[in-house]
Amino acid sequence: MTETILGPVSNVPAGEGRVFLVDGEKIAVFHARGGGVYAVQAACPHRGGPLADGLLGGTTLICPLHGWKFDLKTGQALFGDCGLKTFHVTLDASQQIVLLK
């Protein structure tokens, strides 16, 4: 496991997502309005939609291209069986986003 500090959580506005490039892999990081931080693969498994541009409510994410829905906590698709790869992220004491990979 390697830890990568992605930067302050304030870089990701509440309710939105942003993409980070970590070791050549695009990862979408979300900052839920409830305070939680989540990280998943950046491209939707359906047609490669940019998930960081999706709509987030609770931990449910809607892909902007065709409306596929996923649960960010588990990566599970809310219909269909094609889920998302999830990554472990936390906030450290100084409110920095830390990605464990």
Partner: protein, 813 residues
């Protein structure tokens, strides 16, 4: 296990098809098969004989099973050998040569032969047909007819049924003058009624065939060859040859000879077995099932399957229940389709009829209890496939009978969901089939919304939503569990739109998160966010507290997301009016940012497609034009025709009106997009009548205002709201309607749905006549919204979030 001996008497379409079905069920493992075939060839498609006669097919093209097929399948074919008798106790079949062939199971498929009505002079003293007299049942008949016809002048066909007409048409190809002599009052009496028969007679005569009705032929004249016909009424007809096509007669003699029950055909049960002898079956035109002897091929296919199921033991419960008979006449130049009965049989039978004799078109349907029990199509048989299917499957017909006869306007609708195939795609955007919807219902989703959420059916363009809902209802047997959220403005806040508006205003809620906190128990719902943001903006205008995360990505970055995650940028070009300076700027931007596609839009604007998110603010800055809002659930644009400035037909200044409209409503959030147009005359070049709102100039300095038009996934001509005397009047009335729509439509409900739901009269009363006394307030709301307008592309100079447009954030160590 030793194989059983299976003997099939008859190598026509019924015999050979039955053997094929038996082989398909692994019958080669169970049976040694022997077939008697009277004709010296393999099996051919007898239905196509008339095509051989008319020259459109060669003989070898109509073979179904050539001789090699029998070899390949180890079938012993006794070709050219007619079976002459059966000894049931010994289980032996005899050929004409007296050779016995033992059997364990026997299938009689002897078919039928031409019925020759009693007429003087038909045969010679030795019993053979008089030279020049033919029947039309086999390839040999076909050859003989063709040989005889050479160099002759005229031919008569006795019998105006299906086969007779086909034969007559075929004979024309030999340059003969052809007569049809028919005993009855109209042609094709089995398939047509009097009216259709009369039209068919005219059609045949137009093809050069002479039709003689109600003619009873009493004699064939000529001592040693045909010279003509004599009729019972004393008249005569000269001709060089005669084809007798007066019906068929089942070949049942072999069965009767060994004591099997025979009526009009060999009697069989629902498994195609002879009730007197469980080892003997009969199939095809020689068999009589429940009183019916069929002379068509479709029943034969069904019978062959049942017989094969039973004899191989593959499915001993398989049963034949009789066939519904539908036919198509294949005579070049005349098209006929017929099914079931030709006249109503009970006073309740409903007759739907259309007749246009001049064009040879006749359509008649007989409907009983909402189902098709008979039909005749003549001249135009474009609906035949659909009707034959509805008839055959006994499916309920749509209430609108007109659509049964013609394709008018709308595409033909699916009659019932029961008949719709499981694999039929219902949602064309997301590729969801009827089967998937039904499976979802069966898995416990008992209302349309739950099914749509689970399958994504109806979640693309939305045009199939009502059909999805109907299928769900059908699949639930009409007992859907109502989802209360269908009445909510958005699914995540349990309030109808009026309740929600009241609560928002009373509690002073100005942001989406505040609405969730106070009206939804703090529970966020992603899908509800954009609808709430739109409504809050409409209600609070400049005071609305925008939260980017509540907006769909298009409205966050003021551009339209494309399939590859890039965006399209459409600057404002109201009325389609631009200038060389604007075009130069657009060209400069397109080159500078390597825009892959520059395209004119349907809304008379210019679209720059394939722009990276990171470049959006720079593109806006370099364009220095306001946003065209080509991405939002909002007012989009107003297009225009040339109007009165240049057009010689122009009645009103549509360009100026379009510019004023754009200036009035630009940037307005609304439940769905609003696309407008103005037209300078009723020629409607700008398509104003099919826009959400349109204004069309008419003579006398007036404008007609259309609302609720659509030309997208739905197509609808708008309703006329009223006419107005001036541009200002148009603006005022359009504004009132827009505001009323913004306050009352469901989220994502287009104006066409809204206008149809409320009805144009109600909307006209409120908007034009002010029946609710709210007109003044609506006008005021519009004025306030207009005052709060701010071009979002000004973000180019002041981004709200520094990294809003960054496609990837850098990792800061």
């Amino acid at each position: 296990m030793e194989k059983q001996k299976l003997v099939v008497i008859g190598n026509g379409m019924a015999g050979a098809r039955t053997v094929e079905e038996i082989l398909a069920r692994g019958g080669a493992e169970q049976f040694d098969i022997t077939m008697f075939g009277e004709e010296p060839t393999g099996n051919y498609n007898r239905i196509l004989l008339s095509n051989v006669l008319n020259g459109s097919y060669q003989e070898d093209e109509i073979f179904l099973n050539p001789l090699e097929w029998y070899e390949e399948n180890n079938i012993r074919l006794l070709a050219g050998k007619r079976a002459s008798g059966l000894l049931r106790r010994a289980k032996l079949a005899y050929g004409e040569d007296g050779q016995p062939v033992p059997y364990d199971k026997l299938i009689i498929a002897t078919g039928s032969r031409a019925f020759i009505p009693p007429m003087e002079g038909t045969t010679m003293v030795d019993g053979t047909l008089k030279p020049g007299v033919f029947v039309f049942r086999s390839l040999e008949d076909c050859r003989n007819i063709a040989d005889w016809a050479k160099g002759k002048h005229s031919a008569a066909v006795i019998g105006g049924g299906l086969l007779g007409l086909e034969a007559a048409r075929g004979l024309q190809n030999f340059g003969l003058e052809v007569h049809i002599v028919h005993l009855g009052g109209h042609l094709m009496p089995q398939q047509l009624d009097t009216g259709a028969g009369a039209i068919l007679k005219t059609s045949m005569e137009n093809l050069g065939i002479k039709v003689h009705l109600k003619k009873n032929t009493s004699a064939i004249i000529g001592p040693d060859r045909v010279l003509g016909l004599r009729f019972a009424d004393g008249g005569t007809l000269e001709c060089d040859m005669v084809i007798i096509s007066a019906g068929i007669k089942a070949n049942w003699e072999i069965a009767a000879g060994c004591g099997l029950t025979v009526e009009r055909g060999i009697v069989v049960d629902d498994q195609m077995r002879c009730p007197d002898d469980p080892s003997i079956y009969a199939v095809g035109e020689c068999a009589q099932h429940r009183g019916h002897v069929y002379g068509l091929v479709a029943p034969l296919w069904e019978q062959a399957k049942v017989l094969a199921d039973h004899i191989t033991g593959k499915n001993t419960r398989s049963a034949y229940h009789g066939s519904k008979v539908a036919t198509k006449l294949k005579v070049m130049g005349v098209e006929v389709a017929s099914m079931g009965i030709v006249e109503p049989q009970t006073p309740e039978d409903e007759v739907v009829q259309f007749s246009e004799p001049k064009r040879g078109t006749y359509k008649k349907l007989i409907v009983r209890d909402g189902r098709l029990v008979g039909g005749i199509l003549l001249g135009d048989i474009s609906k035949a496939a659909y009707l034959i299917q509805a008839f055959d499957r006994n499916t309920p017909l749509p209430e609108e009978r007109l659509h049964l006869l013609f394709d008018i306007g709308d595409p033909p609708k699916q009659v019932t969901f029961a008949e719709m195939g499981a694999s039929t795609q219902v949602c064309n955007c997301n590729g969801v089939s009827k089967g998937a919807i039904v499976a979802c219902v069966n898995a416990g989703k008992r209302n349309a919304k739950a099914v749509m959420d689970a399958t994504r059916a109806g979640m693309g363009c939305g045009s199939c939503k009502s059909m999805v809902a109907e299928i769900v209802e059908w699949a639930c047997g009409g007992e859907t569990e109502e989802d209360p959220s269908v009445h909510y403005y958005v699914p995540g806040v349990p309030l109808t739109k009026p309740e929600l508006i009241r609560a928002i205003l009373e509690r002073n809620l100005k942001s989406v998160s505040a609405v969730f906190d106070l009206l939804a128990g703090g529970k966020e719902d992603a899908a509800s966010k954009p609808g709430l943001a739109s409504l809050l903006k409409t209600l609070w205008k400049g005071e609305y507290e925008d939260e980017k995360d509540a907006r769909f990505i298009n409205e966050r970055v003021h551009a339209n997301i494309q399939k590859d995650g890039t965006f399209s940028v459409v600057p404002q070009i109201p009325g389609g009016i631009t200038s060389p300076a604007q075009l130069r700027r657009i060209a400069f931007v397109a080159e500078k940012y390597h825009v892959p596609l520059v395209k004119l839009t349907g809304g008379q604007r210019i679209d720059l497609l394939g722009i990276r998110k990171d470049d959006l603010p720079k593109v806006w800055h370099d364009l220095d034009m306001p946003s065209g809002y080509a991405y939002g659930k909002s007012y989009r644009t107003c297009k225009s025709c040339v109007g009165s400035d240049f057009c010689r037909f122009g009645l009103g200044d549509s360009i100026t009106l379009a510019l004023k409209i754009e200036n009035e409503f630009q940037g307005f959030d609304s439940p769905h997009k609003l696309k407008l147009a103005t037209a300078g005359c009723p020629r409607n070049c700008s398509e104003a009548m099919v826009k959400d709102l349109g204004a069309v100039a008419v003579e006398g300095g007036k404008w007609e205002i259309y609302i609720g038009g659509a030309a997208g996934s739905s197509v609808r001509k708008g309703d006329i709201l009223c006419s107005a005397d001036s541009h200002e009047e148009v603006l005022k009335l359009m504004g009132r309607f827009i505001q009323y729509y913004r306050e009352n439509a469901k989220y994502l409900e287009r104006t066409h749905g809204f206008v149809q739901r409320l009805g144009i009269e109600k909307i006209r009363a409120i908007v034009v006549e002010d029946s609710e006394g709210i007109a003044e307030r609506l006008d005021r709301e519009i004025a306030e919204s207009k005052a709060a307008y701010k071009d979002p592309w000004k973000d180019a100079w002041l981004p709200e979030n520094d990294n809003q447009f960054a496609s990837v954030l850098p990792i800061l160590q």
